[in-house]
């Protein structure tokens, strides 16, 4: 009897240690397959949408012979499946192709512009979280059980208002006030820490408001939970109850939404990048789709896909860590 129990206990321990390793391997495999599907889908879509990138890149004044020569050399006269296989082959070699518009290697272009966008997105997300979590929790505690109705209305309205303002409109307004009128901050460009302030704010304020709202709603229902009453009965400090008992249980929807917002930020910096002349990837994506620059589109979709899928995996892992009972851990 004892032996059985001991062995079971050991197995239990081993399984527990390997639980995260198995999780990681499973997710990595799934990541690769997901990427493949993403690449294929984007390849098909961009090639099936009508439009002539070569003629557009060379301009209407280019002779037909030149256009044809370029088209031939880029392999665009080959059948679609051949182009697809060629592209996949290139991917395995690490070659993302050459941009039709700029004639530069796609990998170089992405490597140059990606850090700017990533930095902006991550900073904006961090700022949003740093604002949203304390704000949401504080207001939840203040408005629980029907208290402070005025605060509730005020908070709900202001978060919705701020969350409803389009980020490019906010960006333009911020520039108009702080750069053009007051001259405190640079108008555009990415040079020096001051130049980060306005773009990050423009991107972060909307998500911060939305996250704070969601968090407050979730926290309110957690505050009514029995185990919070237990924590009060244990006469723990309010700070500890809020941080250790309420917050981890309140973040499910917030975390998921946060993950969505982050991945949305990575791809959604386009308009803000335009307003601030920020040298990032966001404007590349839009521009390349508009000019049907196939290799560049596929390259940026690939990078974007990797980023989003990674963020999703992180969110799942965090959810599993926070709520071990959730089947997300087993998924």
């Amino acid at each position: 009897m004892t032996t059985l129990t001991t062995r079971l206990a050991e197995d239990d321990r081993q399984l527990g240690d390997h639980r995260w390793l198995r999780f990681a391997i499973r997710r990595a495999g799934r990541l690769l397959v997901s990427l493949w599907v993403l690449i294929t889908a984007s390849f098909l879509m961009i090639h099936l949408v009508p439009g002539d990138p070569i003629r557009a890149a060379l301009g209407p004044t280019a002779p037909a012979a030149v256009v044809e020569a370029r088209r031939e050399s880029l392999g665009l006269n080959d059948p679609i499946w051949q182009q697809y296989l060629h592209y996949l082959g290139g991917l395995f070699r690490g070659d993302l192709g050459v941009s039709i518009g700029s004639q530069l290697p796609v990998a170089d272009t992405i490597a140059q512009r990606l850090p700017a966008t990533l930095l902006l997105a991550v900073l904006a997300f961090a700022v949003a979280i740093l604002i949203a979590i304390p704000l949401g929790m504080a207001v939840a505690v203040a408005t629980q059980r029907g208290r402070a109705r005025g605060l509730e209305v005020g908070f709900s309205s202001s978060t919705v208002v701020v969350g409803s303002i389009p980020d490019f409109l906010l960006a333009v307004a911020l520039v108009a006030v702080f750069s053009v009128e007051l001259g405190w901050l640079p108008v555009a460009g990415r040079e020096g820490p001051l130049s980060y302030i306005l773009p990050v704010l423009a991107l972060a304020l909307g998500p911060a408001a939305i996250l704070a709202r969601i968090l407050r709603i979730e926290a309110l229902s957690v505050l009514d939970a029995d185990f919070v009453r237990t924590a009060h009965a244990k006469r723990l400090r309010s700070a500890r109850i809020t941080l250790r008992h309420v917050l981890p249980n309140a973040v499910t929807a917030t975390l998921t939404l946060g993950g969505l917002l982050l991945s949305g930020l990575v791809a959604g910096t386009v308009l803000v990048e335009t307003v601030f002349a920020w040298p990032g990837l966001g404007s590349t994506i839009v521009g390349s789709i508009q000019t049907k620059d196939y290799p560049l589109v596929q390259g940026t979709v690939l990078v974007y896909g990797v980023g989003v899928l990674l963020v999703n995996t992180l969110v799942d892992a965090a959810l599993a860590a926070l709520d071990p009972q959730s089947t997300a851990a087993a998924a």
Binding site: T61, P63, V66, L104, V177, E181, V275
Partner: protein, 526 residues
């Protein structure tokens, strides 16, 4: 149209003093002393990508190429040919002769000779190299040879504006002609500046070459106020560009629309130029209702083109004058007024009635069972003004019983439709050319894929006049070119309807500008 601040800029009231101060410090040029050894910052609207000056003929690259590369000749704003790399030149029929003097050096110190020039021209002429300059700036079928300091170009057909084309053709130094990899992110030319730093999509930095002495008309860089460094910043948003200009963070920017209004209001150094903004093309191919001259005429008569021009340019422009208006131009005539069918709705209706297009029960005309139903394409990059103008045109056509479906498209889709699929009847496409001969391939001759005549125009009067004009050289032939274009407009084969005023502004700097800033003319002023 007086600007009026309100709402968001409530803070303005408080900081009015600050803004006045800002305005003062950046206002106007010309009354300050030249600044020695400074940095000239200019704005580029989009990133040119590959910096090889002879592969892409995109306008984004022109500004950059001009800094590091020279052309064989240069042309002033009023069309006069001046020396650059070549000190002497002559064009006779199908032969052009240019003299390249000694003493011209590249950034790395190597010499630039007539042979280098010949190699350049032959490289561009070869279609296998896929140079975007072939056809537009250098006619097809040119062979070039060099002997000593003489460069001889042999053309296949006479090219009346050869020198104008050459003035836009950058010359690359010998070493890089064959091994072009370095040109993608670096420069190898004879120009006054050398690229020292390239951060694509952000900025490019150039440093001055002290020994440069072969600018237009022999200009050197030994002048007060010449910048020691030039920084080109890539900013795609016009409003951001205006902000940078007004705050003094950049010295030069090209602005349009309301952004230009702000700069005009700030009383900055200004240069104006004309560009073609609205050109209405009809599809002449068989099977399209627009192949019927009466239909084209009626469609033209139905719209108030002056009003259309006003709306399209948001008040900063006017009626079109000719096909080639982008400076530097050689011919400046007005071939349009008096030629294009006048705005007259009754006449439009009559034209269609006479041609047998009868109004149906729902108001749309029909003839032999075919509804007069057309597809109208226009580009989306022109923004709200174009959409507004399109709405106006659509309403006008509906009035005369034509059913038109308008589609705003991006450039690739538009070019695909016009050059490949042919699924269009009316299109607004702007062909920006400097000389009338650059447009010939679009207005006559072979249709795609063999040629560029995508609207399938076949106007014998035009073709005949062009043949005559091609025999005369340059500005002497302007009268004949005008006659040629008039033939097109009278038949309403193609209808240019709007010229826009393009503004270039300088803040703390002055310069010559004719589409591109002339580097040797840049002066920083305090």
């Amino acid at each position: 149209m007086t600007p009026n601040r309100s709402a968001v800029t409530a803070v303005v009231a408080v900081t009015a003093l600050a803004s006045v101060l800002v305005g003062c410090s950046s206002g106007g040029g010309g009354d300050g002393a030249p600044v020695e050894g400074g940095t000239f910052t200019q704005i580029l609207g989009s990133d040119p990508g590959n910096l090889d000056p002879q592969v892409s003929a995109g306008s984004a690259l022109f500004d950059l190429s001009k800094l590091a590369y020279d052309s064989l000749v240069s042309v002033s704003a009023d069309g006069e040919v001046r020396s650059q790399l070549a000190s002497e030149w002559s064009v006779e029929g199908t032969t052009a002769t240019l003299t390249i003097p000694d003493g011209i050096t590249c950034g790395d110190g190597s010499a630039f000779t007539a042979q280098t020039a010949a190699d350049n021209l032959n490289w561009i002429s070869d279609p296998a190299n896929q140079s975007g300059f072939l056809g537009a700036f250098l006619p097809v079928g040119v062979t070039s040879t060099a002997e000593g300091d003489t460069l001889t170009m042999t053309l296949s057909t006479p090219a009346p504006f050869l020198l104008l084309g050459l003035s836009g053709l950058p010359m690359v130094c010998g070493g890089s002609l064959t091994d072009r990899d370095g040109l993608a992110a670096g420069t190898d030319g004879t120009g006054p500046y050398v690229l020292t730093e390239a951060v694509p999509s952000d900025h490019y930095t150039y440093e001055l070459r002290e020994d440069y002495a072969w600018g237009p008309d022999g200009a050197t860089v030994d002048e007060p106020g010449i910048p020691a460094r030039v920084v080109v910043r890539v900013v795609s948003d016009g409003t951001t560009a205006a902000n940078l200009l007004l705050s003094g963070e950049v010295n030069a920017a090209q602005l349009t629309g309301p952004d230009a209004d702000r700069a005009i209001g700030a009383d900055l150094f200004t240069i104006e130029n004309t560009a073609i903004a609205g050109e209405q093309w009809y599809n002449h191919t068989e099977g399209h209702p627009t192949s019927d001259p009466a239909v084209r005429r009626a469609l033209t008569q139905a719209v108030d083109l002056d009003e259309l021009a006003n709306v399209l340019t948001a008040g900063k422009g006017g009626p079109a004058t000719a096909l080639a208006v982008v400076s530097p131009t050689v011919c400046t005539y007005d071939a349009i007024s008096g030629a294009i069918p006048e705005f007259d709705v009754d006449a439009a209706n009559a034209t269609l009635d006479d041609a047998g297009w009868v109004r149906g029960a729902d108001g749309v005309r029909e003839k032999d069972g075919t509804r007069l139903s057309l597809t109208f394409l226009y580009e989306n990059s022109l923004g709200a003004a174009a959409a507004a103008a399109a709405e106006l045109a659509l309403a006008s056509w509906q009035e005369i019983g034509v059913e038109v479906e308008g589609k705003q498209q991006d450039e690739t889709a538009l070019l695909d439709a016009t050059f490949s699929t042919g699924a269009w009847d009316i299109a607004w496409l702007t062909l920006s050319v400097n000389s009338p001969d650059q447009a010939v391939g679009f207005l006559s001759g072979a249709v795609p894929p063999d040629g560029s005549n995508f609207s399938a125009i076949a106007n014998d009067d035009y073709t005949a006049a062009v043949a005559e004009a091609t025999l005369t050289d340059g500005s002497e032939g302007c009268g004949v070119w005008q006659k040629a274009e008039t033939a097109l407009f009278e038949a309403a084969d193609i209808v240019p309807f709007a010229n826009a005023t393009v503004f270039m502004f300088g803040n703390g700097a002055e310069f010559d500008w004719s589409g591109v800033i002339e580097p040797t003319s840049m002066r920083l002023v305090g």
